[in-house]
Symmetry: C2
Subunit: 252 residues, 2 copies
DNA sequence: GTTAGAACTTGACGCTACGTCAATGTCAAG
DNA sequence: CTTGACATTGACGTAGCGTCAAGTTCTAAC
C-alpha cells in the first residue's frame, strides 16, 4: 500500500514540492517510482517523513535532520546541541530588542544618536588591531582594563558625558566664537576633565604626558572622520582641535 | 577630501563587498567615480554609511533602512514596527526552546515521541477541514469546545494516557496474543474508557451511538496511517481494530 | 622603463528551505 | 477526443553579503 505524492503530502500536512526537495537532498526517497516517473511513498516513508517534519518544527536544519536519520548523530545529542544555538539566538534577540528600545527612547528625546559611533572608536573588540597600532599594545591592554573596570554604570556615565560634550562642542563651533576664547576654553577644560576625571583613564597612560596626549587627540579628531563626525564633521573637529591645543599650551 | 573603497570600509568597520552591494541596491552611492572606475566616498557618504550600519545592527532589513534614509518612513516609526517583529521572533524562539526541552526529556525517559502526531490527528486548527469532512461540522465544533474545556492540565493528562495506551497496544500486538483474548479485551476496555471517561468526550457526540463510533474509530486507525503509526503501523492498527470490534460487539 | 604585488573593477555562484511559475507528459472521466 | 486534474523536470527568487575568477590599474622598487 502506498500513496501518490499529493496524498502523502496532505497526510503529513506539507506540500509536494517539499517532498521533491527532500528527495533531491537524499532525506526521503520515494519508496517506489512508477514506470511513468510518478513518485509513490509507503508507510515507512510516511513515518520517516513525520520524524523529519517533527524535527524541523523544532528548528533543526535539514542537514542535521539527515544526520539524525542516518544514525550518525543521536537524536538527543543533536537536539541538545540545537538547544544551545537556540538559546544563543534568544540572547542575541534580547540584546537587539534592548538596543532598539533605547534607540527609540533617544530619538523621542531628540538626541542625534551619536554615542554609538563615538564609542565604537574605542571598542576594544572591534578595533583592537587598529587601537594597538595607534597607541601600542600596552596602551590597548591598559585601556581595556580601565574600561572593564568602569562597570556597567561607569560605562554608561562616561558615554552620557561624551554625548553632552559633543552637543556642546557643535553648538560652540556653529556659534562662530573663537576656539581660543572663553567658551572654547571652558569646553576644552571640561573635555580634559572628562578624559582624566575617572581614575585610570587612558589619558594618563601613553607615557604620562597629558599635554602631548591632549594635543594628539585633537589632531586625531580631525584626521579620523569617525571621531570628527561626533563634533559636527571636519569643521567642528577643527574647532575642537584648535581649542584643545590652545588649552594645552596654556594650562598643561 | 574623500577615500577609496577600502579605506572607507575599514573606517566604518565593514568590507568593500558590502559597499558595492549597497551601491547596487541604491542604498549608498559613491560620492565620486574616478575616470578609472574606482569608487570614492566623502564624509557625507561616511555619515550615511554609519547610519546604515547602525540600523542594520539593530536588525532592520536593507529595504527598510532605505525607506528611512529616503525619508519615506520616520526612523522612530520604522524602529517601532521592527520592535514588534523582534518580540514575535523572541516568542517563537521561546516556544521552540520549550518544545525542544520537553522532547529531550521524553527521549531520555525512553519514550517514542508519538504523542505529537497522535494529537495532530485531532488538532482543531491544522486539520479542521478534514475533521469536518469526516465527522461533520457539528462534531468538529463540539470536539473543539470539549478540547478547550479540558484546560492545560486536562489536555496534558489526555495526551499522557494516549501515549501509555499506544505503548501497551504495541506490546500486546507484538506478543502474538489474539485481539479477542483477555489482554486485547482489557486494552479495548481501557481504550473506550479513555475516550469516554472525560465528560463531554466526542465519543458520545456523533449521534450518541458509542458502539458505532468505537467500531468506526477502529477502522479509521487502519485506514489512516497517521493514527496507525501510533499503534505500531498497519499491523498494530489492525490488532486494535479487531480488538475494538470484538469489544464493541460484546459489551456495547 | 619595467615589473612585481597590491588594490581595484565587474560578474557570478553559494547558502536555507522551499514557493512559484513554465513547459510538458499522463491519467480518468464525459 | 477533449477536458481537467495531477504528475514530471527545470529554473528563478529570497537576504545579505562571502568568496572565487578573470582582468585592469596603481604604486613602489629595481
Amino acid at each position: 500500500m502506498d500513496w501518490s505524492i499529493q496524498e502523502i503530502a496532505k497526510l503529513a500536512g506539507t506540500t509536494s514540492r517539499t517532498l521533491r526537495h527532500y528527495g533531491e537532498l537524499g532525506l526521503l526517497a520515494p519508496s517506489r517510482i512508477a514506470a511513468n516517473g510518478y513518485r509513490h511513498y509507503d508507510e515507512r516513508a510516511l513515518v520517516r517523513l513525520q520524524r523529519i517534519l517533527l524535527l524541523r518544527e523544532l528548528g533543526l536544519g535539514l542537514p542535521a535532520i539527515g544526520e539524525v536519520l542516518e544514525g550518525d548523530a543521536g537524536e538527543a545529542h543533536a537536539l541538545a546541541a540545537h538547544l544551545g544555538w537556540l538559546r544563543q539566538e534568544q540572547q542575541r534577540l534580547a540584546r537587539q530588542i534592548a538596543s532598539v528600545e533605547t534607540t527609540i527612547e533617544k530619538l523621542e528625546g531628540g538626541e542625534r544618536l551619536m554615542a554609538e559611533e563615538m564609542f565604537d572608536g574605542f571598542d576594544h573588540t572591534k578595533y583592537q588591531d587598529e587601537v594597538e597600532e595607534r597607541w601600542g599594545k600596552d596602551a590597548y591592554a591598559a585601556g581595556d582594563r580601565w574600561w572593564r573596570g568602569l562597570g556597567e554604570a561607569g560605562q554608561h556615565e562616561w558615554k552620557a558625558r561624551a554625548e553632552a560634550l559633543g552637543r556642546d562642542w557643535i553648538a560652540a563651533a556653529e556659534s562662530g566664537v573663537e576656539p581660543g576664547g572663553p567658551e572654547g576654553q571652558a569646553l576644552a577644560k571640561r573635555h580634559v576633565e572628562w578624559l582624566t576625571g575617572i581614575p585610570g583613564t587612558p589619558a594618563a597612560k601613553p607615557g604620562g604626558d597629558v599635554k602631548a596626549y591632549v594635543i594628539g587627540l585633537g589632531e586625531m579628531y580631525v584626521a579620523d572622520p569617525r571621531f570628527g563626525v561626533n563634533y559636527g564633521g571636519t569643521e567642528g573637529a577643527e574647532f575642537v582641535r584648535d581649542a584643545l591645543r590652545a588649552y594645552a599650551d596654556r594650562e598643561l
